[in-house]
């Protein structure tokens, strides 16, 4: 029957690969011969929070833009929610919510008008949308502000509204490019809390960040990229266990710094100097503590190894925008 065949054409691609929200294979992007994204492959499960980590210029935004069909890949295969990109971009984007790196709320509209006009870009009429807007405003903690102009909102409020706006189409997948960059700690906490509740509602999150702490707290898995290359992928916990020692001591006191070289002789200890600071990575803390007891009175910091350490171990400490 003609009708069911037409239906099958629409349904089958969406069902195939249903367990994966995103599949990326051998993705490449060249700008004027320069490799900006270099042979990247990964996949994201449905309901997962996946983080793309990397310093400025690593190629994070470029990966997202290819995923959303905002720029064609130079090579590779992309599938998003079962749709092949960029060919089926329209259908895919109808089911994706996007929070871009650059704020692009509509300054000519109020808070409420922003939600209604954005919904219309998805073909959702204001009458159908109006029922949902109060829940979205509550989600954005902007109740009572529906009549406010965009420039009257703080940076945190704008970001929350952008996040709420990305939900007008009830997306299966949210793509967020540095969602908390430039926000103060309170505003950031609120965004994190909202992202967790979105995860709890079964949505898939794909975010980029250069805040390792953010990735560690939110993401089930992360991919670290540097210079367009994928350098590691896995859960934050596994990556920390795999690439850095569990215990980190930071010295800034000149006395400790000058004598720290002694520690390098200890088994399972690794030393790094960063400017005036010396970082001592140790598999077990006791030998270092014993050594420190001989330097009574000198101040130091102790912390567990984290994703930032992994990041520096894998990508080095050079500034990227030099």
């Amino acid at each position: 029957m003609e009708c069911s065949q037409g239906l099958a054409r629409v349904l089958i691609p969406a069902v195939a690969g249903a367990s994966k929200a995103v599949i990326v294979e051998g993705l490449e992007k060249r700008y004027a011969g320069r490799m900006v994204v270099d042979d990247i492959s990964f996949s994201i499960d449905r309901g997962e929070c996946f983080g793309l980590l990397g310093p400025n210029g690593a190629g994070k935004t470029t990966v997202l833009r290819m995923l959303l069909a905002h720029t064609p890949p130079s090579a590779g295969r992309i599938e998003v929610l079962g749709y092949s990109m960029p060919g089926e971009a329209r259908a895919a984007r109808a089911r994706i919510g996007v929070v871009a790196q650059e704020d692009n709320l509509d300054p000519d509209f109020t808070v409420l008008e922003n939600l209604l006009s954005y919904a219309r870009y998805f073909g959702i009429k204001p009458r159908a949308m109006r029922r949902g807007t109060s829940a979205l405003l509550e989600f954005a903690a902007l109740e009572g502000r529906e009549g406010a102009r965009i420039h009257e909102l703080s940076g945190g409020m704008q970001r929350r509204l952008t996040l709420a706006r990305a939900l007008v189409n009830d997306p299966r997948l949210l793509v967020l490019d540095e969602p908390t960059t430039g926000l103060d700690p309170q505003a950031r906490q609120l965004i994190w809390q909202r992202l967790r509740s979105l995860l709890a509602s079964g949505r898939t999150l794909f975010l980029t960040t250069h805040y390792m702490e953010e990735a560690e707290r939110l993401c089930d898995r992360v991919a670290i990229i540097d210079g367009g290359r994928l350098v590691a992928i896995g859960s934050p916990h596994a990556l920390i266990g795999e690439h850095v020692e569990a215990h980190v001591f930071e010295f800034t006191a000149p006395d400790l710094v000058s004598r720290a070289a002694d520690l390098a002789r200890l088994e399972g200890v690794h030393i790094e100097r960063v400017g005036e600071t010396t970082l001592v990575y140790a598999r077990s803390p006791e030998p270092v503590r014993a050594w420190l007891s001989g330097c009574a009175g000198e101040q130091y910091w102790y912390r567990p190894g984290n994703l930032e350490d992994v990041f520096f171990r894998l990508t080095g400490r050079d500034l990227r925008d030099r």
């Binding site: 329209r90 650059e102 692009n104 509509d106 000519d108 008008e113 219309r120 870009y121 998805f122 189409n169």
Partner: protein, 260 residues
Amino acid sequence: MPLGGRYSIPGRYAWPVWLRNFHVWRKLMVPSLLGNFGEPVLYLLALGYGFGRMVGRVGQISYIEFLASGILCSSAMTAASFEAMYSAYTRLNVQHTWAAMLATPLGVEDVVIGEILWAGSKALINTTAILIVAAALGLVGGWTALLALPVALATGLAFAALAMIVTAFAPSYDFFMYYFTLVLTPLLLLSGVFFPLAELPHGVVLTMQFFPLVHAIALIRPLLAGTVPQQAWLHGGVILAYLLVAGGVAVWLFRRRILR
């Protein structure tokens, strides 16, 4: 999802883009209308009555009637060009409104076509206001004048599409001055808005035939006077050809600029 279906006609989903601009315009309707049609009406009154005394009649009609149809056409041209350059550029590069739209199912072609349709609509709004003033002043010769409105819309759309090509190349607002000075002002002065084409050297007259403004005037001037234009299909054809070709080129250029 309403927009999940297969893609067919280019710009089929341009409507929400048009509507977005319309809603913003509606908020600022009064100052916008005053600015956009107040000026042409002032020109019409000052030049029409001032020169009208000296000039007397142009062919079958009074000078101010002659001028009214010219200004109607030229304001369709300027209103559409302005909207498709300064306003569209602001939404593309300053407010990032286009970027927000492109995160939804809308494609570049929808946004570009929506902007062209909106700029053409602004031309229609302004020319409608001017036509009402002209009718109130008794400068309109018959009901055929209503047919001037679809012609003004088509003229606005054609100039909007041309202006979008300029916007697709624009690195900054300053760039638009070139187009205004090198293209739009010569068209305004040499297409028969203020005085009959016949006063100009033959080469100039011939050159102007390659641009849409002359053809808009050739249609609208008789329509306002209450008569049927000659060679209407030819003139209409030139305007439509401009609209379709420039619109296609604009979409292609913006796809190249944005989806890089």
